[in-house]
Amino acid sequence: MRMITSVNQRGRSIATFRYICVWMMETVARWTPITPEMEAKVMMGRHIWEYAQMADALGKRTFELRLPEQHSIAPVAAYDAFLKEVVKILGTAERTAAFYDGVVPGIIARFKTYIAATDPILDEPSIVVLQRAIVDLERQRVDAAELQRELKLSSGAAAAVAAKEKSIADILAEEKVAA
């Protein structure tokens, strides 16, 4: 595992994670009015707020890591394209499966990888923010599983989305160097 040792690298990683949390917030928010099932809307309402809080905490940390407050950095083009494809998925069953069984486990894994790769003392504030986010994301997967049971939603779309997510190893975009 490649260790994360510089402040610059930490800042860019946290800003990239913030981008993904904002994407999760906007995606679930976008899906809410076009989802017919009341029980699904209720779940999504809570999750929108949780993604906002994750993004907010990460955005405060970017400032501590010498980037602007609430700063986001887009991930590598392949991952960004993957996220844009997920947004277009149709149907409550397919969206729920793709998002909570496909995308979210991948994000949890990336947060855990970061935690393992960074300095546990010098970068502890980042670790705490990510650990809190992981708790919420794992609970959200339980929420989604309950919804799937209650509404008898299939989970067919998840495997392909999870495989695609996993196939993009590094999501951190190359740093642009000023000319």
Partner: protein
């Protein structure tokens, strides 16, 4: 990010937003005359009130969520408030649905409306949206819920009264954050005030197309509905103050209501 899946429709000269998605069990109506408002506090009337409130809160989840999605360039602090609102409204749906079931009702028992969405989400700017949704519709709902809570308690239904009271705590904050943000945005951009005025004008004119006809109407369950000029809006001054309307704004709201209904301050022990 545009919600391309939800388009627009035309009513007379007004362009409104297509309704948000609803479970098949719900019959969606546009006019109060087609709803099942019984106009009394019978058992079925109380259940219908709570069911209607649940449906309206579901629309509020949709409206807060779509604002988060459609205005990515809004100030982060305002987006956070809208995201929190989406959660609050979804908790309200849960609490009201729980009460509907306790009262012997079920999802889809009565017709519901999404007209608030149709009008609010037709507006293409966030100031206009929160002016309509938060500062006008939620503020009006805040007044109504305040009075409704008192009525349920008088009838001995403390459980419903307590629930409505708890919901109103959140609604006050939704109105308050809109007031705060509009003031803040107006300080740096005078165009905000024009967006507010245009939104209110649009809401008033578009809403008139769906209102009860002059002279009143009999609704779907045979209740007499008063004509618009005789429908008396309750204005709760204490709640309006808590939501940070200025004294001048409260006077204007009371003037528009014709001073016909002034909810007195509740005596505290």
């Amino acid at each position: 990010m545009n919600i391309e899946e939800i388009g627009f429709y035309k009513v007379a000269e007004f362009i409104l937003r297509e309704p948000p998605a609803r479970d098949e069990c719900f019959k969606v109506v546009s006019r109060d005359a087609d709803a099942h408002e019984y106009g009394n506090f019978s058992e079925v009337a109380r259940r219908e009130m709570i069911h209607r409130h649940m449906a309206n809160e579901m629309t509020s989840v949709d409206m807060a969520a779509v604002c988060v999605a459609e205005f990515p360039d809004a100030p982060w602090g305002l987006r956070m408030e809208l995201a929190r609102q989406a959660w609050d409204e979804s908790r309200h749906v849960r609490a009201l649905y729980r009460r509907v079931k306790e009262m012997g009702g079920f999802k889809g028992e009565f017709p519901v409306s999404t007209l608030e969405w149709d009008m609010t989400c037709a507006v293409d700017n966030l100031v206009g949206r929160i002016t309509i949704q938060n500062r006008t519709l939620e503020a009006g709902a805040m007044d109504v819920i305040g009075a409704l809570s008192v009525n349920f308690r008088r009838l001995g239904d403390d459980r419903t009264a307590d629930m409505l009271d708890a919901i109103n705590v959140d609604e006050i904050q939704h109105v308050r954050f809109a007031n705060r943000w509009i003031k803040k945005l107006a300080e740096s951009n005078p165009r905000v005030l024009m967006q507010m005025a245009a939104a209110i004008r649009f809401l008033t004119d578009a809403n008139a197309k769906f209102q009860i006809k002059e002279g009143g109407e009999i609704n779907a369950v045979g209740a007499q509905l008063a004509s618009p000029e005789n429908r008396i809006p309750a204005v709760n001054v204490d709640l309006r103050q808590a939501a940070e309307f200025s004294e001048g704004e409260i006077h204007e709201i009371l003037r528009q209501a014709g001073f016909r209904s002034l909810v007195p301050r509740e005596k505290t022990a």
